[in-house]
């Protein structure tokens, strides 16, 4: 972990050069030292941005004005670069463009570490990064685009003047972007059709003998394809160096949290304790629980038992909606003793883990209710389990039946299943919320089962006071006791942990 000062100097010099173009192709991992604090903030904010992208991508056409406007606003709010101007005057407030580019660079690589671990995570990450990249590339001025290609050595085969002449009519007829006049002074790139699927699909290019002829305006497609391929290769490589990351005690928990992180409230702070009585749970589970919790609740009532995965998912959720420890103990005990477990065995074998959830045993860590990401991505249910997210883990056919039982209209079911098919589980859940609560468009973006509950109570008018009391701080992850940005005590904290992650780049060395 000791680095020579020589290296630092080199780092600073190359940094200015590295960030001289607004768009990065993320070829080089960051070489500098960063504090754990920055590490965390950067990562969480990029995650927020990617979440936004996922949501926008479903509601809007990806190149539409609205999409671009919303994405621009979000980028701006999170201090990610949002305009291509290379304006490095110190702004009145907030970071400079250079600083934003640095943040963009570092945060991308941190999330690579967190999101290379499983196929699901990789797929999600690549999709969002590709969309982000598309938006940014499109926003560049033509000159900057060329610069970008040049800097990153992206060369694609262009066709000769003769070939262009020979294909003149076909090229003109293949694209809106080309007219008889412009065809002469435009470059056309010739690539295998597999590299420009979107253009093939929509018949926006001329296709001959397996090659597509892409007018310069559409070059974003090829660049994106390149970006996607490289990122996916890089993630596979990074995954291989994960053992090194996992052996790093400071990084490992952080990264795990990131990959399960949702961005929003963490619902662990209990200000609404005791607002709910045990008698209410059955009716609430039908009205205001998301399907993941309704499902475990139902199976608990039926089988008087739940396996570990279900107990964790459900127990923490119940804590989040306001059950006190005493209530929780009573709740689990009364149900379990109806089954094969007697009171004595319950106290010996299970009470501990309930107390554990409330941080009263063991390490006394306060467990945070699971976010959707966590429910969806980690610990998939197996035989005999009832936890997990029904939108992700139920067979579509079964899900359909379930939705029918819950009286969702046939057209609603189709919409939900469409979203599921596109792997937008949380949006499917949100759609379910809208349909069952009779709201046109939910005013929130769902990322947490407890959020679902609170929003539901809001709509049903039952939770006005609950809502006021859960104004929890925006906390990115459970075991950071400090607010992420600039709280005084956090600053002190930073010093302890400064430079802990100085070898971030070493994890990417073989990438």
């Amino acid at each position: 972990m000791q680095f020579s000062s020589r290296r630092k100097k080199f780092t600073t010099n190359s940094q200015t050069e590295l960030y001289s173009h607004p768009l990065l192709f993320y070829v080089q991992p960051p070489l500098e030292n960063i504090s754990l604090m920055e590490f965390e903030t950067f990562a969480v904010e990029r995650l927020k941005l990617l979440k936004t992208i996922e949501n926008l991508g479903v509601s809007y056409v990806k190149v539409s004005d609205q999409y671009i406007k919303k994405l621009e606003a979000e980028s701006k709010a999170l201090n990610f670069l949002y305009r291509p101007e290379a304006d490095d005057r110190k702004p009145q407030s907030g970071p400079t463009e250079q600083e934003k580019r640095r943040k963009d660079h570092i945060s991308h690589f941190i999330l690579r570490l967190a999101y290379c671990q499983t196929e699901d995570l990789r797929r999600w990450f690549i999709q969002q990064e590709v969309d982000l990249f598309r938006y940014r590339f499109n926003a560049l001025y033509p000159k900057q685009k060329l610069e970008f290609l040049h800097r990153n050595n992206l060369q694609y085969d262009t066709i000769s003047v003769e070939e262009k002449k020979a294909l003149h009519d076909k090229l003109v007829n293949s694209s809106y972007a080309v007219s008889g006049i412009t065809v002469e002074d435009q470059d056309f790139y010739k690539v295998p059709f597999q590299d420009a699927l979107d253009l093939v699909r929509s018949r926006k290019v001329y296709l001959k003998a397996g090659y597509v002829y892409i007018p310069h305006q559409e070059i974003v497609t090829i660049v994106l394809n390149d970006f996607r391929t490289r990122l996916s290769k890089a993630l596979a490589l990074t995954a291989r160096s994960l053992p090194a990351v996992h052996s790093d005690e400071r990084l490992q928990p952080l990264l795990n949290h990131l990959s399960h992180a949702y961005v929003g409230q963490d619902y662990s702070i209990q200000k609404n304790v005791g607002k709910i009585s045990l008698e209410q749970i059955d009716s609430l589970s039908g009205k205001s629980f998301p399907l993941c919790m309704r499902q475990v609740h139902q199976s608990l009532r039926e089988n008087h038992h739940l396996r570990h995965g279900g107990r964790m998912q459900y127990g923490l959720f119940l804590k989040g909606i306001g059950l006190s420890l005493e209530q929780a103990l009573q709740f689990w005990r009364s149900e379990f003793i109806k089954g094969k477990v007697d009171a004595d065995k319950f106290d010996k074998a299970y009470a501990y883990s309930v107390r554990h959830m409330f941080g009263k045993e063991g390490k006394r860590t306060d467990y945070t209710p699971y976010s959707c990401m966590k429910v969806i991505l980690s610990n998939a249910p197996s035989q005999g389990d009832h936890h997990g997210c029904p939108f992700r883990h139920s067979d579509p056919e079964l899900l359909k039946q379930k939705l029918q039982v819950y009286k969702v209209s046939p057209s609603g079911i189709i919409q939900i299943l469409e979203l599921v098919k596109g792997m937008h589980y949380q949006l499917a859940c949100q759609k379910y919320f809208e349909l069952t609560h009779n709201v046109e468009e939910a005013s929130f973006s769902l990322n947490h089962p407890n959020q679902y509950f609170i929003e539901s109570q809001k709509v049903l008018g039952g939770g006005r006071d609950i809502k006021r009391e859960t104004d929890a701080p925006q906390k990115p992850q459970e075991n950071s006791t400090k607010a992420p940005i600039a709280a005084p005590e956090a600053a002190a904290n930073t010093q302890d942990v400064a430079e802990m992650t100085e070898e971030l780049d070493s994890f990417f060395q073989d990438a």
Binding site: S175, Q194, R203, Y206, L207, K208
Partner: protein, 426 residues
Amino acid sequence: MPASDYDSACLPDILPLYYRRLFPFSQYYRWLNYGGVQKNYFQNREFSFTLKDDIYVRYQSFTTQNELEKEMQKINPYKIDIGAIYSHRPNQHNTVKSGTFQALEKELVFDIDMTDYDDVRSCCSAAEICPKCWTLMTIAIRVLDRALRDDFGFQHLLWVYSGRRGVHCWVCDEAARKLSVAARSAVAEYLSLVKGGDETMKKVVLSDPIHPFIRESLVLVERYFPLYALQDQDILGRKESVDKVLALTPEDVRKQLQQDFQNEKKPENRWNLLKDQAKRKQGTSKKGQHFEKEIMLQYCYPRLDVNVSKGVNHLLKSPFSVHPKTGRISVPIDLKELETFDPFAVPTISMICEELDRPRTVEEEEKSEETNDKENEKDAAESRKIRDYKRTSLAKYVKCFDQFLDVMSRSWKGELLKKSDLQKDF
């Protein structure tokens, strides 16, 4: 017609004969082994069988031609489907860690089914077909074959009659077998022009500029349209069908044509009137007015089942499988004789089994002697089988399959040479 002789009840009796003496196992293996260029290509291929009473067994796989042959002769499947090449032996899919058993490759396939054309054919409906509507399949093959070859650059296309009411296409090029799901769906969508279900009246909408692919397709469609649509289906004859066509034109044109048609009954002339209107429109308005083209495409353009083409792990009925309902063998279609291909002339299993029982003609005797001499190094059973199918009307279809394989094997030879050259370099 011998087809009417077929009775599905006798399948259990004649299937054993078919698999023992007629099914072209060696060609079949030659195909799916693809020259052995890739390791375990045949071994990791999924087969699935439909047995009596619709019992369906998936994830069958075989290590050798012999093993496949033995198994088929043992269970005598009513129907054979071919699936993907997997990461592991499909018959061991339960023993590998979940998530690691994955479909890796498969031919790019297309399935065109006559039932998808019910709104544009009046001669038949559902599973029925007749020579009149069969033209739709001819058009489909022409259009897709051209596009897959010229636009996508594929060369090894095997067209197969499904045995009942449609055709399948197996694109066997190496590049096609390796396509991702996304690429398959992009190809299928590129090729799809007719959109919308029963709720949509106008299923083809063209916009300017008209893509070269659509222009090329139109050239082919135009060739068949007068005979198929105007004559055979008489779409501009009866009142209801005329209304259906006119509904696809702009309102002012529709009014005009309704009047004109009162004095003009001949379908060809009516079509010319409609085309005149289209020409006039195109002269005046700037926006794309291509309703005459749209009508032709809506009535004739191939309708693909995109889902079949998309999935790598989707199963498709195998060539030379029997169609249990009709008894017809699923045979390769020779494109050189596409115009005269007659689905009703395709032999049924009962027909070819009968032909086997016929006493041989002198000529056949002589021929079989010849083959016997030439192939005397092969074991006797094998050569007898060759003689057997040659005595039936299955022969010409197997020959067509052989030709397809011969062409394709040239590309394997290239591959294998490259490989061994590489080895020499080391």
